[in-house]
């Protein structure tokens, strides 16, 4: 098990009840887990806990057998990578500089990137096939290009688990699909992926594990085909959803009418 989560709960200081609770699941290496749920249900809170950005009020998270809380922030950064939904670029770093920042957990305490670190960054840049962008300013990139640079940075960070917060939200349709493709490739290369999404079709396309976080701290987890059912999805979105099996494609899709 690369990731084990037991009895996870989080309560915001000013709120009476816990936003999420009784979260239990585990993941193997290379698995993809999609987390779905309505707005405000606690998806992002859950992701933030898993990404070690906030400390859970209860429960435990273990990566490769080690508890996150015990290994410290720097070591945790070598295990878990995080791709935010929005990256507000204030300063115009070049893509190369931006990607090199992924080496931070591996640098000496007062160090700056050395040649070796920059070479690793360059490798990630070619892996993501964005060499032509290496000297462009991050602020000048399109949404899709920014996403690619971000992934390159994660590759440099070389974590075991990658968390993505709604990675397809602000992309055009083509880039959305390309992102899903890339996530699939990353999982095949051995990275474990957790992502939140608003699109059940995307979760269906990725076909691995799924979880639903709903109001009232309801949490269910399992294989996508078991979790992403007509009933479950209709419930969380408050719609009349139908799941239809397309024989020609051997695939299920979501459909609804307005």
């Amino acid at each position: 098990m690369i990731l084990e989560v037991k009895d996870l709960a989080y309560k915001y200081p000013k709120v009476k009840e816990e936003t999420i609770k009784d979260i239990n699941f585990s993941l193997q290496k290379g698995q993809i887990m999609c987390i779905l749920g309505p707005n405000g249900s606690g998806k992002t809170t859950l992701l933030n806990c898993l990404a070690n950005l906030i400390t859970p009020s209860k429960g435990m998270i273990k990566v490769a057998g080690k508890s996150i809380r015990s290994i410290g922030r720097r070591e945790a950064a070598k295990e878990i990578g995080y791709v935010p939904q929005f990256h507000n670029a204030v300063y115009a770093y070049t893509v190369r500089e931006f990607v090199t920042m992924g080496r931070t957990p591996y640098l000496d305490i007062l160090g700056t990137p050395k040649k070796k670190d920059i070479e690793i960054a360059d490798e990630a840049v070619s892996k993501m096939k964005i060499e032509h962008l290496a000297h462009k300013k991050y602020t000048n990139l399109s949404g899709g290009e920014k996403q690619q640079a971000m992934i390159a940075r994660i590759l440099v960070q070389n974590p075991k688990i990658i968390m993505l917060d709604e990675p397809t939200n602000h992309l055009d349709y083509g880039n959305q699909i390309r992102t899903l493709k890339m996530i699939k490739e990353l999982s095949q290369q051995g990275y474990t992926i957790i992502m939140t999404t608003h699109n059940p079709d995307h979760a269906l396309m990725l076909e691995d594990k799924a979880a639903i976080v709903d109001y009232g701290s309801r949490f269910i987890y399992g294989d996508s085909k078991d979790i992403l059912t007509q009933d479950n999805l209709s419930k969380i979105y408050g719609l009349n959803l139908e799941m239809i099996y397309i024989k020609e494609r051997d695939k299920k899709i979501c459909i609804t009418s307005i």
Binding site: Y82, L110, T112
Partner: protein, 355 residues
Amino acid sequence: MENGRIQEKRANKIEATDKSNMYILLLSVAAVIIFIFSLGLGQFEISFIDTIKIVLSPFFPIEQTWDATMSKIVLEIRLPRLIACVLVGGGLGLSGAIYQGIFRNPLVSQDMLGVSNGAAVMAALAITLGYTDYAVQVAAFIGGIIAILLVLGITALIRNSSSLVLILAGIIVSGFASSLLTLIKYLADAEVTLANITYWLMGSLSNVVFPDLRTVYLPMILCIIVLLCIRWYINILSLGDNEAMSLGVNAKGIRMLCIITTTILIASAVCISGTISWFGLVIPHLSRLVVGDNHTKLVPMSFVMGVVIMMLVDNVARTLSVTEIPLSVITGIVGVPIFTLLLIKQRVDKNDFRS
């Protein structure tokens, strides 16, 4: 063929990085040259050769070809003054770059956020109450810390730490400190103390002698070293707290460290020279024009640029006329148009006002 082109691109990439380092080195050398040259500059005519001899005389035995007054001027008037330029100019430039990084906002600086004024209020209070030396420095530091805590407190209360709110909070705190200063001036003895405070607030390195530096130079040097060492983390912090934490960096801790060290720097600078406006804002921007946004280069460049420009400004202030021009006058008259041009050039709409 493909490989060849990629290798050529690789070579270009490495060149681009090294160019920034070269600029920093060049400017550092220029700083040393200007320092030595400025020792020979002043209302009192001393030949350049004599200046060099005087400077070397404490270290090497040199036959004395100058008189005691010249030696006094170079070693006890000009030398401490230039050292003050280095500490204050470099310190303010450095602080400005750090501020702009940790607050993710290229439009802030220590005077924008009220820290300089806050330090000045407490220092002025300490002076009028009759304290000297360490007590004044500590008072200035406390004033600066209170100012930045107030700014951060306001943004927390409004639950909005966007650029705009940050700057507004800075204006509020700065304005408040300004009013307190006016109150102190009002209550000060109109004959003597009032004029002293007013002039000191306009920023001046005139009449800085070694005893003035005795208590500040060590904390300032230490703070400068600390800030130069953690320059990589400023890059990380500028990505936003969440991303910084995901990269293993204690964002809040580093930010607090930066705030404390810059406040020590700024408070010490205020004790030496009073408040010098626009400097902490403009120097990092000028540095960006040369080395770009990467703080690994920007931070040391801002330090050296601050040193060089401060020495040049001070040289003008003390040689243009018999009576000295306050530094804020020069930095304001020169700095504001430069800053306006920079804003226009960078087309501010590209950077976030809405981050």
